[in-house]
């Protein structure tokens, strides 16, 4: 790792005593940060710590209330994202912002296309320049292909190519790895290392601590909008970092209780959905947490959706407590005691513009309706009850869900489904994109539920989470179950081997 002191004393980009408020909320208080050429700098903090506000200030989206942005040591004011871009700052957001209808080349050079006479665009030069960029990044993407349908990983590559195209000196990456598979992360890190060697400064944000240690040289930690520390990562442990982020010792990230497994609650037999998954059979017993691991696209989410009845299956059967479920009928699955907490909480788990109370109440409409009318009082008390049990942090229960942080939104989705009193709970990526503190709480909750006799099926791409929480690990590869590994034998190696189809376990 490069040490800033070796590369010269002037940071390419710095923040000095920066403050920013939104109404009564102080998002950033006197935060300072220095980015040096040739370093990968981590920005750590829980959700709501002020990371997003800091990035958006650097990107010219927000203007600070107080403090300075220094470019090469000179105070600068960015009036718009275009200003920041012209200063050589590129931001790659978690959800890349591309134009789906336009070609990759146009996406990269939009607004800055090479010109011919009379200001006409030189399409040929644009495509050639794009091909050169792709070659430099070592990827095979056709410059003339439309951006629609690109994987998230490829979309990020396009964003990085865009940054390269205007010689960005500072690259800010906001959780770029959240939706990537292991090999895609490796490819991304390869690109980041190359950029670092070429003298760029990279600001890297991730909730995955091991990634921070893998790629970054220094780390700046924020908590509640205030600067906690800015220091080299060398010699630090993950626990040290977590302590700075959370402000206390985290009890335990994986508080798994040992529970005696009871009788079979969920039984899936030879379930097949043509072209998606084939011959999937497994049981989940009461009190058990079963992890379902595999690469993105292995068919894990699809199995869960079919079991719950959102998608139809073509062959096989599903039983809850010995009663067969009807194919493609979520309402009977719910009545049988099945609950599914989906992967994409914004699109599938929550009605973002509705209140916390009503979101939690949605699954209870059957029980809170009297004579065909909603009993608002019953709904409110039921929702409050669950919100308190799960320690959701909110101002008022009537606030819309969209005002909550990601972790708290996830708790609301959990509350919504726990309120149905499920016998079998399927959670799909329960902690994706939420901070360590909340993550530990979600784990504690799952563990308690299992102890109470609920059968839990946990789909996760987070290997430490699978290893830390699951009694048994099921692994899927290309639509088939390739391994069933008991807790005692589950390691990163054994799970990854089965997930990549390298070895039959």
């Amino acid at each position: 790792m490069t040490h800033p002191s070796d590369t010269g004393p002037t940071p390419v980009l710095a923040l000095k005593d920066l403050s920013k408020s939104f109404g009564a909320v102080r998002a950033l208080r006197d935060v300072s940060l220095e980015l040096f050429p040739g370093e990968v700098h981590a920005l750590a903090g829980e959700n709501g710590a002020g990371k997003s506000t800091l990035i958006k200030t650097l990107a010219g989206v927000h203007r600070p209330d107080a403090g300075q942005v220094l470019l090469d040591g000179e105070p600068t004011v960015f009036h718009s994202p275009a200003d920041a871009r012209d200063a050589g700052i590129a931001v790659i957001y978690q959800e890349p912002t591309l134009f789906p209808d336009l070609s990759i080349a146009e996406n990269i050079f939009m607004g800055r296309q090479p010109r011919r006479a009379l200001g006409r665009i030189d399409h040929k030069a644009t495509h050639a320049a794009t091909a050169t960029l792709m070659k430099r990044l070592g990827v095979e993407l056709d410059p003339e292909r439309p951006a629609r349908g690109l994987s998230i990983a490829d979309q990020q590559i396009v964003e990085i190519a865009k940054a390269l195209s205007f010689d960005a000196r500072v690259l800010i990456m906001d959780e770029p790895t959240a939706a990537l598979t292991g090999s895609e992360v490796a490819r991304l890190f390869g690109v980041v290392r190359t950029l670092r060697e070429q003298g760029s400064a990279v600001l890297f944000i991730s909730h995955r601590l091991e990634e921070i240690f893998q790629i970054c040289g220094r780390v700046t930690t924020l908590r509640d909008g205030a600067l906690i520390s800015s220091e080299p990562l060398e010699g630090m442990t993950e626990d040290d970092l977590v302590r700075r982020m959370v402000g206390r010792d985290l009890d335990e990230l994986y508080p798994k209780q040992d529970v005696e497994a009871g009788e079979v609650a969920l039984s899936v037999r030879r379930l097949t959905r043509e072209g998606v998954f084939t011959d999937v059979s497994f049981d989940v017993r009461r009190g058990e947490i079963v992890g379902l691991a595999g690469l993105v696209g292995a068919g894990r989410t699809e199995v869960a959706r079919s079991v719950f009845g959102v998608d139809r299956w073509d062959a096989g059967e599903v039983e809850v407590d010995g009663h067969a479920l009807t194919n493609g009928a979520p309402s009977t699955a719910m009545a049988a005691g099945l609950a599914l907490v989906p992967e994409d909480r914004r699109a599938q788990g929550l009605v973002m513009d509705m209140s916390i109370e009503r979101n939690i109440g949605l699954t209870g409409l059957r029980t809170t309706v009297r004579a065909g009318l909603m009993d608002r009082g019953a709904e409110r008390s039921r929702s409050l009850d669950w919100a308190v049990k799960l320690q959701v942090k909110y101002a008022r229960i009537a606030d819309t869900v969209s005002t909550l942080s990601g972790g708290n939104q996830q708790k609301v989705v959990l509350a919504k489904w726990l309120a149905t009193g499920p016998k079998v709970l399927i959670v799909d990526e329960p902690t994706r994109g939420i901070d360590v503190g909340t993550k530990a709480e979600v784990h504690r909750l799952l563990s308690e539920l299992a102890a109470d006799g609920v059968a839990v099926l946990m789909i996760s791409s987070d290997l430490p989470e699978i290893l830390g929480m699951a009694d048994r690990v099921l692994v899927m590869h290309e639509g088939r179950l390739t391994a069933e590994i008991p807790r005692s034998e589950a390691t990163e190696e054994s799970v990854m081997a089965a997930a990549t189809g390298r070895a039959a376990a």
């Binding site: 209808d101 006409r120 794009t130 010689d167």
Partner: protein
């Protein structure tokens, strides 16, 4: 990232992949498909009625399409930015009457046309300002201006009427004249169409219209002056509606307070049938022009085949639904094909 700047790019030939070719083909096909439907329709009609493609018949077909092609071209620019201009019918009506009133008083035809265009630009400016600055949905804003412009038109015009007899003979002759079967008006529309298509493909601001229709938020982050671009699209759309008004006057010589009523829906149909996607970001003005040609030709085809013209509206509707259905199916196919390609590349 202090390495090579990409601008002095080597002229390496970029290999075109199957995915690109597929998408290219689909979009070319989209326009070719309308052309094919149009040609088949004309061929069948010609077989049923050999008088149909006489010199006068062809001229009528082109003349009928001209005005719709002009307005549809302007409308395409707006629809590509994920907006819509419903006030084009009212704009056309008021511009036509203004040009007519001026000519009635013995004015110069060229100035009359300019007057109509300027009036249209004025209407477009109002729409554009309301949509881009007011951040109000275009559908609602332009529905409002549709009524406002029509209302002002009605108050101003009252029960007056302009007929061909009030206009200079040269102006009316120009409206119906042409080089053999090709009317002068159609040549004007063709020129506008070619310029618009070239602008959209080869100029930065033209591509930015597609960009901001495709993803408005990304357009803002990319530093595209979103408001200016939307404003420009509306101004061009209004200006072309004004020009269409002047040509309407030249062609029909007959304008009153109801001229152009309901025209906006025909225009929107033509644009959508022509493959300009209503959610913005894709489609071409050539497609929209072909859509306009197809829709107006049905008006001539049915009588020529002895079918009652009461069927015209229903057939227009069917074409519209068909076009949307085809677009949807094609989009799904393309998405699936691209996905497969991704999977292969791992």
């Amino acid at each position: 990232m202090t390495v090579t700047a990409p601008t002095p790019a080597p002229a390496t030939e970029v290999p075109r992949s199957s995915g690109t070719r597929l998408v290219d083909r689909v979009f070319k096909m989209r326009e070719l498909a309308i052309l094919a439907v149009f040609l088949v329709m004309i061929a069948i009609t010609q077989m049923g009625n050999s008088e149909f493609l006489s010199e006068q018949g062809i001229k009528d077909l082109l003349l009928n399409a001209t005005i719709l092609v002009l307005v549809a071209t302007g409308q395409s620019l707006v629809v590509i930015t994920r907006n819509v201009d419903l006030s084009v019918g009212s704009t056309l009506g008021v511009s036509a009457f203004a040009a007519g009133t001026y000519l009635q008083g013995g004015g110069n035809p060229v100035v009359a046309v300019l007057l109509a265009v300027l009036l249209g630009i004025g209407c477009g400016l109002v729409n554009g300002l309301l949509v881009s600055l007011g951040q109000v949905p275009a559908l609602v804003v332009t529905l409002g201006t549709l009524y406002i412009i029509r209302g002002i038109d009605s108050i101003w015009v009252g029960s007056r009427q302009i007929t061909a007899a009030d206009l200079p003979g040269g102006f009316v002759d120009f409206g119906s004249g042409g080089i053999s079967a090709v009317p002068y008006l159609a040549l004007i529309a063709l020129a506008v169409l070619v310029v618009a298509a070239y602008y959209l493909k080869h100029f930065g601001s033209g591509r930015e219209l597609y960009a901001l229709g495709s993803n408005p938020e990304a357009a803002r982050l990319a530093g595209i002056p979103v408001r200016n671009r939307i404003l420009t699209a509306y101004i061009v759309c209004g200006g072309l509606a004004g020009l269409a008004g002047a040509l309407y006057l030249a062609r029909f010589g007959n304008v009153d307070s109801g001229t152009g009523t309901g025209y906006e829906l025909t225009v929107v149909s033509a644009v959508v049938v022509g493959g300009v996607v209503f959610t913005g970001g894709s489609g071409s003005v050539y497609g929209a022009a072909l859509g306009a040609l197809l829709l107006t030709s049905i008006n001539s085809v049915l009588p020529a085949l002895g079918v009652s013209s009461v069927w015209v509206l229903a057939i227009n509707g069917i074409l519209l639904i068909l076009a949307i259905a085809v677009d949807r199916i094609v989009a799904l196919r393309v998405a699936a094909a691209l996905k497969k390609r991704n999977a292969r590349h791992g």
